[in-house]
């Protein structure tokens, strides 16, 4: 699993690639919380996510909750089909701000 962070106009883009599971989700959690903790708007690019389990979902939820608490924008962009199925099944598509393109996401978070 790869977890790359880049900056686009002050917005942290966290690109996840591969399986986000019990083994890899602590790394994702750490990266997301670091970005949110730095009071930066965060967009998680999930186009490369081939699998996500409940521990991966929990990492996203924790970052979302932390962002809300600190009035920081947090969203998901280009969510892969495999990840979207999991989010939809748990109705988390109603919780996260999900954008089909990075440009839409950047527009939403004001980047």
């Amino acid at each position: 699993m790869d977890c790359e962070i880049r900056d686009e106009g002050g917005v942290a883009i966290v690109a996840l690639t591969g399986d986000v599971d019990l083994e890899t989700s602590p790394r994702v959690r750490g990266a997301l919380l670091d970005c949110v903790g730095a009071k930066r708007s965060v967009l998680v690019d999930m186009s490369g996510v081939s699998y996500i389990d409940s521990s991966g979902v929990a990492s996203l939820v924790e970052a979302y909750q932390t962002a809300r608490k600190s009035n920081t924008k947090f969203g998901l962009v280009q969510v892969s089909e495999a990840a979207m199925r999991v989010l939809e099944l748990a109705r988390l598509d109603r919780v996260f701000a999900i954008h089909s393109t990075l440009a839409d996401g950047l527009k939403d978070v004001g980047g």
Binding site: S54, E62, R68, L89, R91, V95
Partner: protein, 441 residues
Amino acid sequence: MHIAAMPSMSVPLATNGDLGEQLELLAEMGQDFASSLDIGETLSKALARIARYLDAEAASLFLLDEHDRQLVCRACFGPVNITGLRIDARRGVVGRTVQDNTCQMVRDVRLDPDFAKSVDENTGFVTRSILCAPLSVKDRRVGAIELVNKRRSTDDESDGLFSDQDRRVLQVLASSAALAIINARLTAAVIEQEKVRRELELAAEIQRNLLPRRRAEDFPVVGVNVPARGVSGDFYDVFDLPDGRIGFSIGDVSGKGINAALLMAKTASIYRCLGRTIDDPGRLLALVNAELCETGTRGMFVTMVGGVFEPTTGRLCFANAGHEPPLLRDRLGEYRAYPAQAPPVGIAADLFPPEGCPVTELRLGAETLVVFTDGVTEGRLGDGSPVGAIGVRRLLERHRTLRPTERLSAVVAEIVRPGHPLHDDLTMLLVEGPLARGQGV
């Protein structure tokens, strides 16, 4: 410079001198180590025995800290008490002894550039010579024993300095002490593990007691829970309402371990408590959500289904908050899934409308509703393949002629097999319509 180093391999105890006395000392120390439960006290005793036997004015025993960065004085003998003193694990004659894992004999400390003067400066003690042996077993180092200043005596043939014979004796005694320290640490670790295991067992027992008691064979709502570890993050509950209806819930807490188990206990208790007076499962889930969000831990949430069943009419109402879709089996063996209409509880208070989440109402005749956690769908069958959503239906069909409790047990037995540990907790709940009951659908 008079510095001598010698590897801490096994050495003959004595080539001259009183072998009987030395063996007696070794035996006494061994007995102390074997019989005492207080390693600190035993080390102090052993250090005093060694110092007296080798006529040292002072002695100290240093152990490496948990990061191997510092040496901490754990026992002391002589006029100055430096117990608790911490020094850099690479400094001084003691540090060199540990780093090189060899015995160090310094006949005149003024000529040794590694000698740390600070202790003498702070205490007024005057160190002239040092004999220091590593506390180690093969390459496993735990510290060092340092003897300071050999006492002069009238019959001393070695001009008041530590001798090679002293060095050999100290090496053997230090090896014995090192082994005792390592054993004591292993014992302490085993005791600690056992304590944790007992606490987990107790937690698991308390958790099992939270599950509903077994009912009569024809009771229409039954469940099963198999934890993957000692404690479970899954739960199910079944309780009677005053008007004869049956309340039920099933849930899966995100994460594993004790924190998930605690949240599981809390969520099930809140639902059961509120469920005795509020019969709308959608409103109940919203109230549970509000309560969890007020006192919850970030990143932890619960997917759950709550419902009420009226056994006489077959009327069933349930609400699904982010949980695996319950399956309704009709009289022809067709299955229909009911996906969640609300997110899991415990994420944010404003995700649920005040009136509660949507409720599905069904009338069960010969139909059966099965609700389960993802430990079932993600479980493995005998051939190693995942159960999956379709697999659950196949397993239920395979055992459809069995009574509800036996049916659930049979499905579980296909997933929980000896020698194949579960990766996730596994929970199932079954609600059977009045016409399906006892007929083996």
